[in-house]
Symmetry: C2
Subunit: 390 residues, 2 copies
Amino acid sequence: MLNQANIAARMAAIQPFHVMAILARARQLQEQGRDIFHLEVGEPDFPTPQPIIEAGLQALQNGQTRYTPACGIPALRASIAQYYQERFGIKVDPKRIIVTPGASGALQLVLSVLLNPQDEVLIPDPAYPCNRHFVRLFEANPISIPAYAATNYQLTVADIEQYWTDKTKMVMLATPSNPTGTTLNPTELKALHNVVKARNGVLLVDEIYQGLVYEGEEHSALALGEDVWVINSFSKYFGMTGWRLGWIVAPEWAVEALERLAQNVFLCPSTPAQYAALAAFTPDARAIMEANKQILKARRDYLLPALRELGFVINSQPAGAFYIYADASHFTQDAQELCLQLLEQTGVALTPGIDFGEFEANTKIRFAYTTGIERLEKAVTLLKNYLPRS
Amino acid sequence: MLNQANIAARMAAIQPFHVMAILARARQLQEQGRDIFHLEVGEPDFPTPQPIIEAGLQALQNGQTRYTPACGIPALRASIAQYYQERFGIKVDPKRIIVTPGASGALQLVLSVLLNPQDEVLIPDPAYPCNRHFVRLFEANPISIPAYAATNYQLTVADIEQYWTDKTKMVMLATPSNPTGTTLNPTELKALHNVVKARNGVLLVDEIYQGLVYEGEEHSALALGEDVWVINSFSKYFGMTGWRLGWIVAPEWAVEALERLAQNVFLCPSTPAQYAALAAFTPDARAIMEANKQILKARRDYLLPALRELGFVINSQPAGAFYIYADASHFTQDAQELCLQLLEQTGVALTPGIDFGEFEANTKIRFAYTTGIERLEKAVTLLKNYLPRS
């Protein structure tokens, strides 16, 4: 008889999201009539901007529901290229842009085209957990490098020098980062690029939260040169989470392989989503996104000092995305337990650090400001009344 | 400097679709004003049924564009379960149904959860090419077994007995099959299931073309027991190609692992597509699908004897899907060259056998009856005038 013993070995390394236990309990409590404050969800409370919805409706009415080219419709690849030109002054050949089913699809394509079994990929700890799981999916090894608040939980040149081996193939960075909300500035990025380039490695930069940066000039790692790999998404800044649409910008030498794999593993990205996304670059849609960004900034500007006042330690600079990664060691050595307790006692749902890595994860909590400021204020008050005075 | 030499080894085994060369040339000719007959495309000319479109419009208007549970919205999983009950009299727990981004996503999840590197998967040759590419993606080995027209290009019990080794983990079958359009009847399926089960292997049945069977009773491999794995799709019978939505039915012991992986690699299937698909099981939508099926049957009933009259040999029984896999050895020992020539000289676009395997592929051609019967008639006339008399 077949049973769980027949599951592939790689699955042992692919953990569930621990926040799911929080979510399940939150749902139970809500069903019992409890008011739950969702500071655990990585999805803002904004709807998809109306111009994108309208374009989606139009696409369905026009019967745009058939297969498209595997790398996406040419008009969308051209629009993304134009976006880089207009926003960042970077010239990208549309051929180098591969539209994918979400940034998840992008990550999958990049890693399966580049990684051989046993290759090593350097990743900061904490990081988006799926990154290391995707690496493992293709029998390669994610190497988690402890990352510190003092360096914004980002990798440093010294880290790469220290952890690089002859098996290292790639370094994955994220700016802004999930779960930390921190960014890399152009100078830091350039130094990291140089050290990877000198070792003939691949630099992959996750720019999924690009556009949601509240301090400093916006930039893209693509400015560093055509050898840099970037993944991006329509989910966050563009507000299209459930549509599942993202993209890769790859060096020209890899495009043929990426296209070949996309044909085989996806056939194509969602057709209605692609046509809807054409409207994501219109001035009307952009105005909505920029307004949403200001709302997120206001939430961050409220929440960051409020959490510090509660006794959470935040020595990094959460300049982007919609996350604050806080040290809760003042309160606990078991942040998952504290998260469950806070949910139970205050109705505030949070994500424990262990969802993002292992390094000092038991004292970390991610706060997502994906809900309105009035709700954030109430949540902070509830936490304040429950937590011991700092 | 990085270059193509840095592409992962697995990519050498993942071939492009050779039909893409045909498609590219067809497009060129069309741009020059030539009338091209598309008998190469695996996508019928029917639009998505209007009730599904309406449900999609409603979903967008209701803001159903956010993340859903990783395995799909409960209502859709329940609808699929009910479909098995009503159509096939098979009871399936909705928990065992995992909604995926297309059947491509389904295949990926199943194989990554089950296959260890070097595991062997028995697959008929010819078969849908992505099957063996997906197996290779996870460092396992697809074992292509020559399949013959006399046994409908399906595997036999003797094949499995012969090719089974201690590395064999799984057998993949498809009914109806792409590219052959052939089916397995319940007796054949049961015998194949028994031989796999006796070896403690996994039986995975591709039922992507389920619903498009023009001879005999419809059935599902799920009738054989809860140990059988099935993948299915909203693309073909349900007419939702570009929406990218499919599903898995898995044994209960594997559901937790599948869900965990789905969370990590997909987050969720397309939300608008899921809400639209709820309408796929309504009587109005089903009536349209059944009418489309009758149209496809009429096309097959025309094309099959017509091709035989032209001199193509079809000794299998293409009872389903929308494909006829024909032996062209009367005309050529290089079917890809013949396909290019036919396109050039007659404007009829076809898919060469090498897109589906290696066994006798150089004398095989796939005809897709995804275009109207008048166009099929014209195409046959053009072929008749060009090809030597049989």
